[in-house]
Each structure stands twice: as C-alpha cells, then as structure tokens.
Symmetry: C2
Subunit: 134 residues, 2 copies
DNA sequence: AACTCCACGGATGAGTATATGCGCTGAGTA
DNA sequence: TACTCAGCGCATATACTCATCCGTGGAGTT
C-alpha cells in the first residue's frame, strides 16, 4: 500500500516544508530525516524532475521546496513513486468480484481504500510542516 | 500492508470453505486458486501447524478446513503471515508523533487503520465461502 | 511386498525494492 | 587557475519476498 520510498519522499518534503526558502544540502536532509544519503539523492532527483523541488549546485547549494507546490496534495507525490495503483480488483482477489457477485470483503475494502485516498488528497505538502503553536 | 503470501492464504481458506468436509489435494487447490503448487504447499503447511487446516497423507489425502475455525476472524490468518504488525508509529514516520505532537496525518491514518483492522476482525473464515443465494 | 499418491522439509533460485560507490560536472571561493 | 563543495548519473551490491526443485516418508491399493 505504501512503499519505503514513498514514505521517504513525504518525510523529505516535510523537512523541507519546515525550512521554507532555505537551501538545505543533501547531507543535512539525510541526517535530519535518517534516510541513507545516496538513496536520498535519488529520491530528491525524481522530486526535482517532477517540479516539487528546486536544486542548486556548487558551494552553498542544496535543495528547497518550490513554493508553488505547497498546495498540492501528497497524493501526487505518492503516485509518483507508487505508480498509478490499480485497485480495480479486490484486496484478496478472492475470486471474481464485481457488482453482481461482490466478495464478502468488497464493501469493507472499499471503505478502507476510500479513507486512504481521502487522506492523501486532503493533505497538502504545506500541511506537512510542523505547525508550532504560538 | 498486505503481502502476496497473506492474500494467498485467504484465497486458499476461501476455496476450502467452499468445499466443507471435502479433502482437496494440493494440486486441486493450486489449480483452483491459481497459486503455484509448490509455494502453496508451504502456506498450507503453516496453516496446518497453526490449526487452521487438517491434512491427510497418502492416497485420497489432501487438506480440509478445520470446522472449528469457521468462526475465527481472518485477522488471525493475516497476523500469522504478516507478523504482529507494529503500527504504533505513524505512516510516514514524519517525525515524533505522539498524543502531544500529532503529525498532520495522524488522525487521518488512524481512521484508515481502524477501518482496515475492523474489516479483518469482522470477517470470519466461514464468511469467505461463496454464499450462493437459493 | 511392490507400487502409486501425496503431504512434508530443506535447499536453492529468481525478481524486485532498497541501498551504496564512484566518477563527473557545475558553482562558488581564494 | 587551483581548490572545494555539492548535485548528478550510472553501475553495482544487499536484502527480502516470492517461487521452484528435489528428496523423504507416510498411507492406501494391488
């Protein structure tokens, strides 16, 4: 349902959202998020190519969140790493499960899936920042 | 959230529940459930050790559901193959997430998790059988 | 007893997600 | 220009799940 990589991506974006406007080096992010540095580079690269993040090479360089993406739902991020996810079939693929012959789990799973997708689409990247109460 | 193996186990039990009292050979079950025969044997073995299934060696032998387990929730089966699942932490492990400082996703995920566990505990192995309306 | 069916078990292989290493290049500094 | 920092990309290693192979032995048949 959620790969390690997807989790990482969210954690990275959360960390970046905590430091708006700042350029954070890969090593810094790796340390803060506890993600292996080399692997993190790969993830950040994909995030960059998809426009979630901007990067700066050289001395003082690093990564920063693109301000424009603060409002986009994290579903977009997840989809990037998990692929489009075909949940057309039923969880347990118990047997043919369509409208006519729903398996005993059909409705239940529908509920789970819905609340999951709802979570992903209602939370934005901006929301990932730690909201420090005043 | 759910491994291939766990799915298989449910499918197997569903098939056995469809044929109560019958001894089905491994090959038969493999064919019906589309699970690789050799791998299926392993899963059935674990199910046997845990008392979900009884087996009969030799000619005419095979596997059958233990009648007593018709009422047990499929959560027990899943737990057997997925391990106890420690969902104590939050999905994205975004950072420290406890009652005091819940992460932005905390409540949402709680809802997802609850409806999932509810599904697993409200459906019994007996429910997996195809209920053919008269 | 010889034979066949089929569950059991350990060892081994394939595939994929995860993780690492290393050399390259651009960007700033002295 | 020489030097260092840090992103970039490719090739490779590790881990884990999923799957297969092969041999053993019990249970019934002839």
């Amino acid at each position: 349902m959620l790969s390690h990589t997807g989790r990482y991506a969210i954690r990275i974006l959360g960390h970046l959202a905590d430091h708006p406007g700042e350029m954070l080096s890969g090593t810094e992010i790796a340390g803060a998020t506890r993600i292996p540095a080399n692997y993190l580079a790969k993830i950040l690269n994909q995030l960059r190519k998809r426009g979630f993040v901007e990067s700066q090479k050289g001395w003082g360089g690093g990564f920063a969140l693109r301000p424009a993406v603060l409002g986009v739902p994290i579903a977009d991020v997840i989809d990037l790493f998990e692929g489009p996810q075909d949940h057309s079939g039923c969880v347990f693929e118990l047997r043919e499960c369509d409208g006519q012959h729903p398996c005993p789990l059909h409705e239940h799973w529908e509920k789970v899936r819905t609340s999951y997708r709802e979570m992903l689409s209602s939370i934005t990247i901006g929301n990932l920042a730690t909201s420090r109460a005043p």
